[in-house]
Amino acid sequence: MRYLPHTTQDISIMLHELGFEGIEDLFAGIPHSLMLQRDLHLPGPMSEPELNRHLENLEKANPAASCISFLGAGAYSHAVPAAVDAIVSRSEFSTAYTPYQPEVSQGTLQSIFEFQTVTAGLLGMDVANASMYDGASAAAEAVLMAKRVRRNITRIVLSAGLLPEVGRTIETYVSALDLEIIEAPLSGEGILDLGALSAALDKDTALVVQTPNFLGCIEDMRSLAGLAGEKNAFFISFTAEPYSLAVLEPPGSFGVDVATAEGQAFGNPVSFGGPYLGLFATSKKYVRRMPGRLVGLTRDGAGKQGFVLTLATREQHIRRARATSNICSNEGLCALASLVHLCCLGPEGLARAARISRANAEYLKAGIAEIPGFSIPYKASTFNEFVVETPVPANDLVQESTRHGILPGVPLNRLKNGNENRLLICTSELHTRQDLDNLIRVLKQRGA
């Protein structure tokens, strides 16, 4: 067994040192009645070639992975430079753990400090943490933080434009707290209905808004900020597609209390739903109320600049039951991938990728709107994702398109029960003009 270096001789030397006859003696502390009296019923062992063949077979049973994909809805594919994987594959990064010993972890620590800087910049906030499990749990932790910061909060208002999974995660996280949860409806335009929202907000509420929302529509953040401010509600934003931050004013400029996002699209593959990373940023005044790890600047004995984990008195290993969160392991390596990705893109690359993603969506929207039987139900502006009203159930369209090697979008009723004739389509800079035209052509075959 290649990961177990012990020779028979090593084992006898070691047992001799311990004064034992056999390895079983070391398990004498486990009552006999609790010992497993049989072998585990598991397959294997497999050699590397056998294992590779087996994995290849599993891979082949995932033909969706090689389709031209227009799927988004919380998981986004973008062009990732090969340099990203080259860096995150360095085992000095990948096989280290949480940087508890700063003198042998400066690589991890400095990169987290850079990640915090970039994340805070993207979201337009003062400070960001070292990552949360994913976007949905980051949003849920923001709600928990709201309740810590303002004990008077009794009601959570969730935008109906939140990805249903994110709303569901928030509900699950807060289930033990005595909080009322209500949903603020969307208007026919596809964005929050300001009148209805206004009636739901007051100083005892926390509001969670996603923009662009899960229908792809860009919320009128300026009006929402005005409303939240006027009613003195605790304001939390969630961004599912972080490339949108390259073209849209960041949440910080609308005075949100906490900005959260799913960071996967920056440098991490869609990988059947994980690992991803949650971005969590807030203003300076709330630093000591934040969940998650934080890295701060400091000096060593000789005055040289270095980095350490800081403000740990918020955390579970010190504060235990009164910690700001129970999080321990986070998504460190995914955060590193995001950082390297963003450094490669730089301001120009990120903006260009975002503009192309958006332009591709507009091109498709215009093309599809012309197909008889298809229409664009929501009039609000979108970024790279939009809903199409389809003449047949969206699921049927998906089944048919996959025969042409295309995944045309996510049927909306896969996300939320409702109209089955709606398809959510997403584009990126990975799509060529030919991909877009092919999708239009395939949909045309189903036009009325």
Partner: protein, 497 residues
């Protein structure tokens, strides 16, 4: 004495990436924009919502800059691939390279979580089988793969406990009992579920006794949460009796499975009366820790808790795998999609390569290694619990303190000698604890080298305590000032600093 690897290495300085930035430099390769598309696009942005800062917080650097920067940073890190990393409770075993290659296979990495199930059968099969493997290893009826880490698994598990009480007893109950040896995430996860935490102490022999539990147990207790083997590296030998006491009052037994590496193929928590346990795939099943994550914290449950598992659960009917969302008693969702799939692929690959006999052997050798280190060091360091340990052993600085040398100093001196320090000052029940978990992937030579380093430090503590107290000496930076960092936190870079 065996040789220790520590020396002064070549260390390159490196500024922050932002300081490398030069306007006009780029590190991307993207398609040129189609002019007519660009026009369609910009004409649709509502002007007041358009970003205007030019994203100037991002550096403008070439790919060469990026790669050099992060390669230099990486050289300041110590990982499992650098050497022995005996960080107790974290199971820093070697991470197989085949698992890395497996997770990067395009058929997994490029698979979208909302792709049709019929075109994602391979991924669903992998998840289904991993659920089965973990259920078999832990002795459980069912497993959810959704939690992203151990603490997330705890939160999920206690949430299921809460749902069970609400459903069966009409109320969630009020308290969770936790022994004083527990990891901080245990009380934090209970409190997040609205429970009051009742701490009980373990006996002088380092394990929990039935009387303690009987005294604390009543019908307001939702669960007892224990770790087995516990954080002292000791098997909780009274667990079956304790389970009986908890169950008698209608409570449930939660087991923190962070230390499952000691039990693989030897004993199963489900057979000991445990109702719910989180696995830490990044520990026991050898997936890399990534400088802090990602992990994966699947939760195994007995029959009574199965209805409350988060959605979806992967099921198998006929020759089809399916995501089952139709579970009316489910606690809901703990995150988006199905969990850290890339981590699952790695753990699954590891499990198949090891096979049942290999896994059992891993547990045996992990326990052998820990006992060997304990035995070789107990003359030099205080050993608070003198009995056979499981996968880790806990020593303390009691003998060195007389010379003013503390655990933190010993840890820093180990760095000079080429090792990652053990977990220190945890568990809290041992003053100046050093928790050493060698894992099964360390050879006898590597253990001997570590023992030599520890012996050298014990000697230095007597003859030259100054060199230990001022360690590390071989690193690029000397000891860092944590108080300074916390007093006036600087958490982001700005041009003016």
């Amino acid at each position: 004495m065996a040789k220790v690897p520590g020396t002064k290495g070549l260390n390159l300085d490196e500024s922050l990436i932002f300081e490398r930035s030069r306007k006009g430099r780029t590190g991307f390769s993207l398609p040129v924009e189609d002019q007519d598309l660009r026009e369609i696009s910009t004409s649709h942005v509502p002007a007041p919502l358009e970003r205007k800062d030019g994203l100037d917080f991002l550096p403008s650097v070439s790919e060469v800059d990026v790669v050099r920067h992060f390669t230099r940073l990486s050289s300041w890190n110590y990982g499992v691939d650098s050497g022995m990393y005996p960080l107790g409770s974290c199971t820093m075993k070697y991470n197989p390279k085949i698992s890395e290659a497996a997770a990067r296979r395009p058929g997994f990495a490029n698979l979208h979580p909302l792709a049709p199930e019929s075109l994602s059968q391979g991924a669903l099969q992998l998840m289904y089988e991993l659920q089965q493997f973990l259920a078999e290893i832990g002795g459980f009826a069912a497993v959810t793969l959704q939690p992203a880490a151990g603490a997330h698994g705890e939160l999920t598990g206690i949430k299921m406990v809460r749902a069970f009480h609400l459903d069966v007893h009409g109320r969630p109950r009020k308290k969770v009992i936790i022994p004083d040896t527990a990891h901080g995430t245990n009380p934090a996860s209970s409190a997040l579920n609205g429970y009051e935490v009742v701490e009980i102490s373990s006996g002088d022999d380092g394990v929990l006794h039935a009387e303690q539990v009987r005294e604390a147990m009543d019908e307001e207790v939702a669960a007892l949460m224990l770790t087995n083997p516990n954080t002292l590296g000791l098997f909780e030998e009274h667990i079956a009796e304790i389970a009986g006491i908890v169950h008698e009052k209608g409570g449930l037994l939660y087991c923190d499975g962070a230390n499952m590496n000691a039990l693989l193929g030897k004993a199963r928590p489900g057979d000991m009366g445990v109702d719910v346990l989180q696995f830490n795939l990044h520990k026991t099943f050898s997936t890399p820790h990534g400088g802090g994550g990602p992990g994966s914290g699947p939760v195994g449950v007995g029959k009574v808790l199965e209805p409350y598992l988060p959605v979806p659960v992967v099921t198998h009917k006929g020759d089809r795998y399916h995501l089952d969302n139709d579970r009316p008693k489910s606690v809901g969702k703990m995150r988006s999609f199905f969990g850290n799939f890339g981590v699952m692929v790695r753990a699954y690959t590891y499990l198949l390569e090891m096979g049942p006999a290999g896994l059992t052997r891993a547990a045996e050798l992990a326990v052998l290694n820990a006992n060997y280190v304990k035995s070789r060091l107990e003359k030099y360091y205080h050993l608070p619990y003198k009995k056979i340990c499981m996968h880790e052993c806990v020593l303390s600085d009691k003998m060195q303190k007389a010379n003013g040398v503390k655990t933190i100093d010993i840890a820093k001196r180990l760095i000079d000698l080429g090792f990652h320090p053990p977990t220190i000052y945890f568990p809290l029940v041992v003053d100046g604890a050093m928790m050493i978990e060698p894992t099964e992937t360390e050879s006898l030579e590597s253990l001997e080298s570590f023992v030599s380093a520890m012996k050298q430090i014990a000697k230095e503590a007597k003859t030259d305590p100054g060199i230990v107290k001022s360690a590390p000496h071989n690193t690029r930076l000397s000891r860092l000032d944590e108080t300074l960092a916390a007093r006036n936190p600087v958490l982001t870079w700005s041009k003016h600093d």
